[in-house]
C-alpha cells in the first residue's frame, strides 16, 4: 500500500508532465513566430521530455495495477503477479475497468508521440499534436475515477467526479507546461519571442489557478465536510500542506507575470535578467508542483477527513447556539471525536453501573452533585442531571472523564477505565441530563435523542427503531404483570389499526423474569424481547414518578430516532384517549423543533 503511494506520485507527475508538454506544444509554442535553429533545439528538448514522461506514465500505470491488485486481494505482490488475481481485478472491479480504459488511452498517447517524432509525418504535425493533446486530456481526467470520488453515488458522484477531473486537467496544464517554458526561454535569444511565450503561458496558468481554486473547494466539501475535520485530521493536515505549497506557487507565478514579464520588452540588459528570473521561478514552481502531486498521492490513500477520527488542535472552539450569539468556549483534543460506540441502551446501562461504582459518591445517586463525599469538597461536584450538560459535545465529557478537570477535585479516570467504558459513561451522563429536561415537561410531549435498541417480536427478525429500513414510528410500552395485563390486551387490539398509521407497538417487560414475562397468544403481535438495558435506560426518563405508579410506561419514537412523547404513572390516559394522543404525536406533533447541537452517535 505504501509503495503504491510512491507509484501514484510518480504516475501523477509523469502524466501531468506529458499533458503539459503537449499543451505547451499546441497552445503556447504555436502559432510560431519564427522557425529558426533555436526553435528546433527547443522543440527537440520538449519532445524528449514528452517521450520520457509518456514512458514513465505507462510503466507506473502498469505498476499501479500490480500493487493495487496485491492490496485488494491482501496477498504479497509476488503472488498477485502470478495466478488469476490481475485478471480478476481488471475483469471484475470498477478500478479494473477504469484501468483498462486509461491503459488504452496511454497506449494511444504513446503511439501518437512516437509518430510525432518521425519526419515523414511533419505535414500532419498539427493534427498529431491535437490528437495527442486530446488523448492527454482524457488520460489525466480519467484519473478522477480512480479516487475517492468514485465512491459517491447519484448526482454527488457526477458533481464530484466532474470537479475532480477539471481539477486534474487544470493542474496538468499548468504544472506540465512549466519545464517546457524553461526550455523555450533558454533556447531563445529573442526577447520578443520570450515575451510572447511568457504571456501565453501565464494566460493558461491564470485560468488553471481559477479552476483549481473553484474545483478544490467543491472537492473539499465532499471529502472534508466540516471545519473540525479540516483542522483535526491527518487528511486536513495534508490538505493544508498542499494549499501552502499552492500559495507559494501562485506567488511565484504572479511575480513572473506582473514583475518579470513586462521587463522582457524593456531596453538594455533587463530582458536577459528577466528571462533568467522567469526560468528560475518556473523551475521552483515545477519542483513545488511535484511536491503537491506527491501529497495528492498520499491523500488518495488516506481516510477522507469527513470520515476520520478528529483530533482538535486548539484549546478553544466557536460554539454556535440558537439562543445566543456565537461564543468562544474551551475545547479539547477529543472535543469533536466520533464515539466508537453508539448511543444504545446497552451502552447506557453499562455506563449506569460504572457511574454507581466511580461517580455516585461525589456526583450523587441521581447525578445532582449531592453524593456523600460532596459535603467535604470545597469545589462542589457538577450537577450532571441538568440541561447545561447538553451544551457540551460528547468529546468534551469524554475528555473530562479521561483527564479530570484541573483546579477541581474531578479526578482522571483514563488510567482506571478503558476507552469504551469511558464512552459508556458519556452516554449515561447524556441520558440523565436529557431525562432531567424531559422530567420538567408537564405534557406528554418531549424532545430528546432516543437511546437506540433492537427488538424482536416472537422469533421474528431483529428490528431497529431508526434507519433506512425502518418504515414506522415505534410505540415502546414497558410493562409489569399482573397490573398491566388489561392495558396490554387493549393495546394488542388497537395494534393493527396503529400499524396502518405506521406506528408499531412494541411491548417489553420492565423486569425480565417469569413473573413479568407473558406467553399469551393474544399478545403475540406486540410482545417483544429487546436489547439488554432497555427497561433500565428508559425508566431514567421517569425518575420523578413514584415506583408504585410505574408501569405501564409508553414512549413514542419517530423513524429518525427521536423521542416525541412519553406517558406513565398517573399521566397515562385510558386506552382510547391514549391511542388518539399517540396518533396525534405521530402525525401532527412533528412540528416541534429539534435541538441541532446534539452529536449523533457515529
Amino acid at each position: 500500500m505504501n509503495t503504491l503511494v510512491a507509484v501514484r506520485a510518480v504516475h501523477y507527475v509523469a502524466i501531468a508532465q506529458a499533458f503539459g508538454a503537449l499543451v505547451f506544444a499546441t497552445a503556447i509554442a504555436r502559432p510560431r513566430m519564427e522557425a529558426d535553429a533555436a526553435t528546433q533545439v527547443r522543440d527537440r528538448s520538449i519532445a524528449s521530455l514528452l517521450n520520457w514522461s509518456v514512458a514513465v506514465a505507462l510503466l507506473s500505470w502498469l505498476a499501479w495495477l500490480a500493487l493495487q491488485a496485491s492490496a485488494m486481494a491482501g496477498i504479497p505482490l509476488s503472488r498477485a503477479l502470478g495466478g488469476s488475481t490481475l485478471w480478476r481485478v481488471v475483469h471484475e472491479t470498477s478500478f479494473g475497468h477504469v484501468w483498462l480504459v486509461r491503459f488504452a488511452l496511454i497506449i494511444a498517447l504513446a503511439a501518437l508521440v512516437v509518430l510525432r517524432r518521425s519526419s515523414a509525418w511533419d505535414a500532419h504535425r498539427a493534427a498529431l499534436d491535437a490528437s495527442a493533446t486530446l488523448a492527454g486530456v482524457a488520460a489525466i481526467a480519467t484519473l478522477a475515477a480512480t479516487g475517492h470520488a468514485a465512491a459517491d453515488t447519484g448526482s454527488d458522484k457526477l458533481v464530484h467526479i466532474t470537479a475532480d477531473a477539471m481539477h486534474l486537467i487544470a493542474a496538468g496544464a499548468w504544472l506540465g507546461a512549466l519545464l517546457p517554458l524553461v526550455m523555450a526561454l533558454r533556447a531563445t535569444a529573442n526577447p520578443l519571442q520570450a515575451h510572447m511565450l511568457a504571456r501565453r503561458f501565464s494566460a493558461i496558468g491564470m485560468a488553471s489557478v481559477g479552476v483549481l481554486i473553484a474545483t478544490g473547494i467543491v472537492n473539499s466539501v465532499y471529502l472534508v465536510a466540516s471545519w473540525p475535520a479540516l483542522f483535526g485530521t491527518e487528511y486536513g493536515g495534508l490538505l493544508f500542506a498542499k494549499i501552502a505549497l499552492f500559495v507559494i506557487m501562485v506567488a511565484l507565478a504572479a511575480t513572473n507575470r506582473l514583475r518579470s514579464t513586462p521587463q522582457l520588452v524593456r531596453g538594455g540588459a533587463a530582458p536577459v535578467h528577466a528571462a533568467a528570473r522567469i526560468a528560475r521561478n518556473a523551475r521552483l514552481e515545477a519542483a513545488l508542483g511535484a511536491g503537491v502531486l506527491t501529497i495528492v498521492a498520499m491523500l488518495g490513500v488516506s481516510v477522507p477527513a469527513a470520515h476520520d477520527q478528529t483530533w482538535w488542535p486548539f484549546p478553544f472552539r466557536i460554539a454556535f447556539d440558537e439562543r445566543t450569539l456565537p461564543s468562544i468556549v474551551s475545547a479539547y483534543p477529543t472535543t469533536y471525536a466520533h464515539p466508537p460506540l453508539r448511543y444504545t441502551v446497552t451502552s447506557i446501562a453499562r455506563g449506569s453501573a460504572l457511574y454507581d461504582a466511580n461517580c455516585a459518591s461525589c456526583h450523587g445517586p441521581e447525578g445532582h452533585g449531592d453524593g456523600p463525599a460532596a459535603a467535604v469538597l470545597t469545589t462542589k461536584p457538577a450537577d450532571l442531571a441538568s440541561e447545561h450538560v447538553l451544551d457540551h459535545l460528547d468529546g468534551d465529557l469524554y475528555w473530562w472523564i479521561t483527564h479530570g478537570i484541573a483546579g477541581t477535585p474531578m479526578p482522571a479516570f483514563g488510567a482506571g477505565l478503558d476507552e469504551r467504558p469511558r464512552w459508556d459513561l458519556v452516554n449515561f451522563v447524556k441520558t440523565i441530563a436529557a431525562a432531567s429536561v424531559v422530567q420538567g415537561s408537564r405534557s406528554a410531549m418531549i424532545d430528546a435523542e432516543a437511546p437506540e435498541f433492537a427488538y424482536q417480536i416472537g422469533l421474528g427478525p431483529q428490528q431497529a427503531i431508526s434507519g433506512a429500513s425502518v418504515q414506522a414510528a415505534t410505540l415502546l410500552v414497558l410493562y409489569a404483570l399482573p397490573q398491566s395485563r388489561e392495558r396490554l390486551l387493549e393495546l394488542a387490539t388497537a395494534a393493527p389499526d396503529l400499524a396502518r398509521s405506521r406506528i408499531r407497538v412494541v411491548a417489553v417487560p420492565l423486569r425480565n423474569d417469569a413473573e413479568t414475562t407473558i406467553e399469551d397468544p393474544r399478545l403475540a403481535e406486540i410482545a417483544a424481547t429487546a436489547s439488554p438495558g432497555l427497561a433500565e435506560t428508559y425508566q431514567l426518563f421517569f425518575r420523578n414518578v413514584a415506583p408504585a405508579d410505574r408501569g405501564p410506561m409508553a414512549f413514542l419514537i419517530d423513524r429518525d430516532g427521536w423521542l416525541r412523547a412519553r406517558w406513565g404513572g398517573s399521566g397515562m390516559p385510558r386506552t382510547a384517549e391514549f391511542v388518539k394522543q399517540v396518533r396525534w404525536f405521530a402525525t401532527e406533533g412533528q412540528g416541534a423543533k429539534r435541538p441541532t447541537a446534539h452529536q449523533r452517535g457515529h
Binding site: N2, A71, E92, T153, A290, G291, T294, S531
Partner: protein, 121 residues
Amino acid sequence: MKPLWLAVWVTACAAIATSPARAHAFLDHAAPVVGSQVRGAPSSVTLWFTQELEPAFSTVKVLDTQGREVDRGDKSVDPRDRTVLRVTLSPLAPGTYRVVWRVLSVDTHVTEGDFTFTVVP
C-alpha cells in the same frame, strides 16, 4: 526539473513508501445487530456498509467460539444495493458467534473488522 530536485523528490517518495497507510469503507450496521442477543437462530447475517463494495474482493465469515466456520460460504453483495453484504448460515445452536469481514470499496480501499452476536433459546 534539475537533477538535484529530482533526487530530493525521489527520496521523498521512497520515504513515503515506508510509512504506514490507511484506508476506508465502514460498517454502518448489521443484522443481527452488532453485539446483540437474538432469540432463535438467524438464517443469515447481513452487513450494511457506508460505501459500495467490489463483490470480487469482499468477504464475510461467521465463526463459532471454536473458530469453526458456520456460514454456508455463499457470501454475496446485493446486486441492487451494492453496500450490502450477506451470507447464509447453517442452523445455529445457542451461543456466541463472531462475524469477520474484509471488504473492498469501489474507491479501491480495503477495510476489515469483526463483531459478535449471541443466539439465545
